[in-house]
């Protein structure tokens, strides 16, 4: 009997689902959770130590609170919020067209937006540098054609926002296309038949029903911008310092792995908290069409 109980306890191990998930789970544990745990553990090691065999301490977190790292967190958060809002405004009409209006041209538009992703982000941003540079493509063209100068655009916060919007546009757009395509045309027709104006249809039918796509695109972009670095460096001339830059500096020039780890933990916690809050409002099952 004891043997039978033992067998039934271990029955779940023979479940094909568990067995099939085992390799991926082990891989995730080693490749994903492992490094995260290491970062977490390092964040409690004394400043500038290179091993985990030390007495744990909170000194890195205390020093982060006392120093001006709040500025980097603020700028990263501000950029993330601004870029997400701008991308919603830019992407909604494009996504609407792709989902409902462009018909056979939608594939071409998708390709045109997706192809640049295949080119390195740094190269694309450097292309923008050549455009915005003093005496560069934009400034030079305006000067020769209209005698107007457009210098002073590079190395500014708006240049960073431009770069972020440009780089992360597809990450907002494509989930939005899915979200909008989920809105049944019949509902809009019904609303129209019942006397709703175009604005009312948008506000009370289309927007709420496309919200899951909007949220997924927004969250994805928000998290990516929060951890972004290249745009502020290449286009912004570091007019502001993003938190990812502080983390990189801590791990390299400062040779302070524990502080870099503590900053990483705080960034992960911040992203996790925001994503958790937002996901409570999104029904993933609906997004992928299970219900």
């Amino acid at each position: 009997m004891a043997g039978t109980t033992q067998n039934s306890k271990l029955q779940w191990l023979r479940n094909p689902g568990v067995l099939a998930a085992l390799p991926a789970s082990i891989f995730l544990l080693i490749g994903f959770a492992g490094p995260l745990l290491m970062v977490g553990a390092y964040s409690f090691m004394p400043s500038r130590s290179f091993s985990l065999n030390q007495i744990p301490t909170f000194e890195n977190y205390i020093s982060i609170i006392h120093d001006s790292y709040y500025l980097s967190f603020f700028w990263s958060l501000a950029m993330a919020v601004i870029v997400v809002i701008l991308l919603f405004i830019i992407c909604y009409p494009i996504a609407y067209g792709m989902a409902k209006l462009f018909n056979k041209w939608a594939n071409l538009v998708t390709a045109l937006i997706a192809v640049p992703i295949l080119i390195s982000e740094n190269i694309r941003l450097f292309g923008w540098v050549l455009i915005l540079l003093k005496n560069g493509i934009l400034d030079g063209s305006l000067q020769s054609l209209f005698g107007v100068s457009a210098s002073g655009l590079l190395f500014t916060v708006p240049a960073i926002i431009l770069g972020l919007v440009y780089v992360y546009l597809p990450f907002t757009l494509f989930p939005l296309v899915i979200g909008i395509s989920m809105v049944p045309d019949t509902l809009k027709e019904a609303a129209s038949d019942l006397g709703a104006t175009r604005w009312q249809i948008f506000r009370e039918v289309e927007l709420p029903l496309s919200m899951p796509g909007l949220m997924i695109g927004g969250i994805l972009t928000f998290v990516l911008v929060l951890g972004s670095l290249a745009e502020a460096k290449i286009l912004g001339g570091q007019a502001i310092v993003m938190i990812a830059d502080d983390i990189e500096s801590a791990f390299t020039f400062a040779q302070n792995w524990p502080k870099g780890s503590a900053l990483s933990v705080l960034l992960i916690a911040l992203s996790g908290f925001i994503v958790f809050l937002l996901f409570r409002r999104v029904d993933l099952d609906r997004v992928i069409g299970r219900r």
Partner: protein
């Protein structure tokens, strides 16, 4: 029967069993060790990883060579600390790291003095043996080979700021209110800290008082607040200088200015101050040292590679490899010097190299780097643009 005996499943089972048995008796490690006779992994600043340098070595030694470019000295040393001594055979970083950190921490190992000191005899006079940075602190062990070097202070557009004025003013140029918004800051953080010390009239490589560290912090703020742009990309910085976006950049030298100069922008020039707080000197010179990593499973080709790069034709290739162009210590020999064209010598500012070396001290470790870095990074975050 025979067919059954060598079925696919049977073959896999047998292979698995024999592999496990071989591993158990330690055969596999020997196989792996044997494989490293013709294998070499190089971690280096750009140049040593170029195919122009490596392909002839691969061919001559029938070697499988893997090379990766590094982006900062501390980052490279940290990778060795994190266990990558098992990966790399050769490491190429700036002078103080070998003697002050990597050798004491057991990350690199000495090379044969008998084999390599004759090469030091052929180098430029400043590098004759025993060369301080190539030796351990006791002066007994040879820790690597020097090759590329260069003065590194700041860069100006001489059409906007004359060379004489820049050399006379030194780093004080960047504290002049008239320069606000007219210069960039190349974010080679460790170099910036040293140069900000010089701007604050402090010797960067000595122990500092609290007052000196506070003064450094003030100067760091002033220089960050006056900078138009910050970037770690020397190409972007040169481009900004050529296009007139800025007139100078803080932290730079032959290494960063030479690509622009070889492209014809002769008005872009690395400047070494005529004077400063380092026993009267105002500039710093870096010297790369290429060392053998203390790899537990070492490559037999590591020292062969160090000897290979001393050859005149290879020395020239290293000096003018892709990316940046730099003088090499081997230019002390006419066999090497004769390989450079007039344009190439002009790109690396050969005309002023001796004077710049005289006005510079060697790159070293700053004992208060950690404390100064905190002030430096705060000034960067709190920069008012």
């Amino acid at each position: 029967m025979l067919k059954n005996k060598f079925s696919r499943r049977n073959f896999l089972q047998q292979t698995g069993t024999w592999a496990a048995a071989a591993a158990a008796v330690g055969v596999l490690p020997n196989i792996a060790h044997a494989a490293r006779e013709k294998e070499l992994n190089i971690y280096c600043w750009e140049g040593y990883n170029s195919d122009d340098v490596l392909d002839p070595f691969r061919k001559e030694f029938s070697a499988k060579v893997r090379a990766e470019g590094l982006t900062s000295d501390p980052d490279a040393v940290n990778k060795l600390r994190a266990g990558e001594t098992k990966v790399w055979d050769i490491i190429n970083v700036n002078n103080p790291w070998a003697r002050e950190q990597m050798y004491p921490e057991g990350l690199i190992k000495p090379i044969s003095r008998e084999r390599f000191e004759p090469y030091y005899n052929k180098m430029m006079p400043a590098f004759k043996p025993p060369y301080k940075w190539a030796m351990d602190s006791k002066g007994k062990e040879l820790l690597g080979m020097t090759q590329r070097f260069g003065p590194f202070s700041f860069v100006v557009n001489t059409d906007k700021i004359s060379r004489k004025m820049a050399e006379d003013q030194g780093f004080k140029l960047f504290l002049d209110p008239a320069m606000k918004g007219r210069y960039g800051l190349l974010t080679y953080d460790n170099w910036n800290i040293y140069h900000m010390c010089i701007a604050a009239d402090i010797h960067p490589f000595k122990k500092h008082s609290k007052a000196e560290i506070a003064k450094f912090g003030e100067v760091a703020k002033q220089i960050f607040n006056g900078a138009k742009n910050l970037t770690d990309d020397l190409v972007a910085m040169n481009l900004a200088l050529i296009n007139g976006e800025i007139d100078a950049y803080f932290t730079g030298g032959t290494y960063t200015a030479s690509p622009a100069r070889l492209d014809g922008a002769k008005n872009i020039r690395g400047i070494t101050p005529n004077s400063g707080p380092m026993d009267g000197k105002g500039g710093i010179v870096w010297i790369e040292l290429t060392s053998v990593v203390n790899n537990p499973n070492p490559s037999a080709l590591a020292e062969d590679f160090l000897e290979y790069v001393q050859r005149p034709d290879v020395s020239k290739k290293v000096a003018f490899a892709e990316g940046t162009y730099n003088p090499v210590t081997q230019m002390g020999s006419s066999d090497v010097l004769s390989k450079f064209s007039k344009e190439e010598l002009d790109a690396i500012q050969w005309d002023s190299l001796e004077q710049e070396m005289t006005n510079s001290v060697d790159y070293d470790i700053n004992p208060d780097y950690a404390e100064m870095y905190e002030l430096y990074s705060a000034a960067k975050r709190e920069r008012k643009t």
